[in-house]
Amino acid sequence: MGRRLRVWMAIALLAVSGASLLLLPTQNARACGFSLPAPNARALYLAMAERALDDDDALLATRSLGFVTLGSSAAAGDDPLIELRRTTIASKLAVRAATNHQLAATSASTGRHAGAVTPPPTPQELKAATKALRAVAQTRQRSPRSLTDLAEALALDPAGHAEAKTILEDLARRDLITSAFGWAALARLRAAQGDVVATRAALSRCAQMTRTADVCQAKTGAEPVPHTPPPGQLGRPAAS
């Protein structure tokens, strides 16, 4: 091999070695800077939609949910957790719309319900929403939140009343009903069985968990439950 060629080979080898020092991945990223992820816009809109849903503001919830997929460059299933959350909220929107329409119809004579602001879902849409919430409950290890949402949907259909009541009574016994809407659904189920005392108890819990008067209504025609407990009923657990 010629002398000149060997020199050029050595220089090339040196150059490659030097470049590899720059290109090899580091074993400890801590020495080489941190890059924090940008806020997840879809997660922010989901949170906004959920808060609106909890405040029974269906219009804002629907708009916020729309932003979750708007402008997304990836397919809907690219983030399973975001998609699961979106499905949950969309299904709850349908359930709440159906509930509000039922309540508005029931309360038409008393004027105790402000009326529904979004159109009611079709029976097929409601069925699909219930099915979706059942799947969510399975995915979420039958967490109290997912079961409360499922029971709220089941309570809209007479065929689902028994299952809904079983779920909600069990959650109520363990103090795990996670929303005012869940308590309201339980109140209506108890009212349907004529249990006035238990209905009032459920409505009272419902009132504590919401800022919206229309949520806590049951068919017995019971008087509206105050949002806050009467004065003098604050108690302290026994001292530890």
Partner: protein
């Protein structure tokens, strides 16, 4: 000429294979292994218990892209190395504003001691006990070692792993080595008094408190303090923590024993180091009265709603570890998704509904956070009270919350108790 060029190239190529390796690779003949623990198991435990969330350690790497390397991220923010996302789409904040915003929110977890090197300086039995019953030894550091679900054998194995392969030999090879292979040699008369004078003259008190010996102002975590001042331990604990024979070598050159030590190398000669060691190890310690139990304030008569409790307590303290994975890139924090060796408990404080969702038990069933314990205290209040007891050194079966952080204030506890008693109003 041609031959040395070829050899040089080969050597350069071999050197390039080392990459940006931050792991400790230096071991000397003077290393030690702790035979009372299983080193291999201990290394795995350091990973399983996610020590790398807070500590820089050889065998506790968190290999997930850095999301769970909490302190690594915090340090990068403090040092201006983090690539921070903009807070607003428009108008976009400039980099300096962004860095300031993030830095201002880092209060308690700004620094943590690394696990490189110090294990060899310490008494292994103290380390084992500390891992199982951590207590505050760094008064200026708001956060403290969290209480983990460690058995004694787990702790022994982890200590063995921390010690394994670290250098212990003092760096000077003279008669001092022979002295310090034994226990702390008898000090000359007046050494403690001389050491006290040196302690003040050398400025040690500017970082270290020495409770029970020297009066110091109340140590309050302050985000403006340097790493050295934040991590400087209360020297009251040194005689329990340190191997006596290694304190003098440490004082003479801290960074020889711990390359990333914040403690500066003071201008000390051998005799001065001995006097300082005598002062730290042998100065009479006054009893420190146990911190009084914080007053449990009466329930508030005014209405307390969720927004206030979230603003003052849940959002301020709890949500950093107890959030929702859906909204946090798949990780709801150790309190929801699991971490620090704890399994996922699905406890979230991210929203009103979430708080009612309870916690997941080992039997797969959920229980309410407000379930009354046998003494009538709601579980949530009980864990907050347990943390107060842990800070006084009382460790019960209930893990105190917040884990590894100062207990909530009496006012915060009052707010939570009042909210619960009033029916947990929305």
């Amino acid at each position: 000429m041609r031959h040395w060029l070829v050899w040089l190239s080969c050597l350069a190529w071999l050197a390039s294979l080392l990459g940006c390796d931050q792991t400790d690779s230096t071991t000397t003949a003077a290393t030690t292994t702790n035979t009372s623990g299983d080193v291999t198991r201990g290394r795995q435990l350091l990973v399983d218990y996610q020590c790398g969330r807070c500590h820089d350690a050889r065998f506790a790497k968190i290999d997930d892209g850095g999301d769970k390397a909490c302190l690594g991220c915090h340090t990068a923010i403090i040092e201006g190395r983090a690539d921070l996302p903009p807070r607003h789409a428009w108008p976009r904040d400039d980099e300096r504003e962004r860095a300031q915003h993030w830095d201002e929110h880092l209060v308690n977890m700004r620094y943590a001691p690394s696990l490189r090197g110090p294990a060899t300086l310490m008494r292994p039995e103290w380390l084992v006990e500390f891992l199982r019953r951590p207590h505050d030894i760094r008064p200026r550091l708001g956060a403290s070692m969290p209480r983990l679900a460690l058995s004694e054998q787990d702790a022994r194995d982890m200590v063995a792993a921390m010690i394994d392969g670290e250098r212990v030999e003092p760096f000077f090879a003279d008669q001092a080595i022979a002295d310090y292979r034994r226990a702390l040699p008898p000090m000359p008369a007046g050494a403690v008094k001389a050491g006290r004078a040196l302690f003040i003259e050398k400025g040690c008190a500017s970082c270290h408190s020495f409770s029970g010996v020297l009066e110091s102002s109340e140590a309050i975590p302050d985000r403006r303090l340097s790493r050295a001042m934040t991590l400087a331990p209360d020297l009251r604990h040194t005689r329990e923590r340190y191997r006596p024979m290694l304190l003098v070598p440490w004082l003479l050159d801290p960074r020889y024993h711990k390359p990333d030590a914040s403690m500066p190398t003071l201008p000390l000669n051998y005799a001065e180091a001995r006097h300082l060691a005598a002062f730290v190890m042998q100065a009479p310690l006054a009893e420190i009265a146990a911190a009084p139990t914080p007053a449990r304030l009466p329930l508030l008569q005014r209405e307390v709603r969720y927004d206030e409790v979230h603003r003052e307590v849940f959002g301020e303290v709890c949500v950093h570890c107890h959030s929702e994975p859906d909204l946090e890139l798949g990780d709801g924090g150790p309190g929801y998704s699991g971490g620090f060796g704890y399994v996922a408990r699905n406890v979230s404080f991210a929203s009103y509904e979430a708080v009612f969702g309870g916690r997941l038990g080992d039997d797969g069933r959920f229980t309410s956070l407000f379930e009354l314990r046998p003494d009538g205290t709601p579980w949530l209040v009980a864990v907050l009270l347990a943390r107060q007891r842990e800070q006084r050194g009382e460790y019960g079966p209930l893990k105190g919350m917040p884990l590894g952080f100062p207990a909530v204030s009496p006012e915060q506890l009052q707010l939570v108790e009042s909210w619960i008693a009033q029916g947990r109003l929305r």
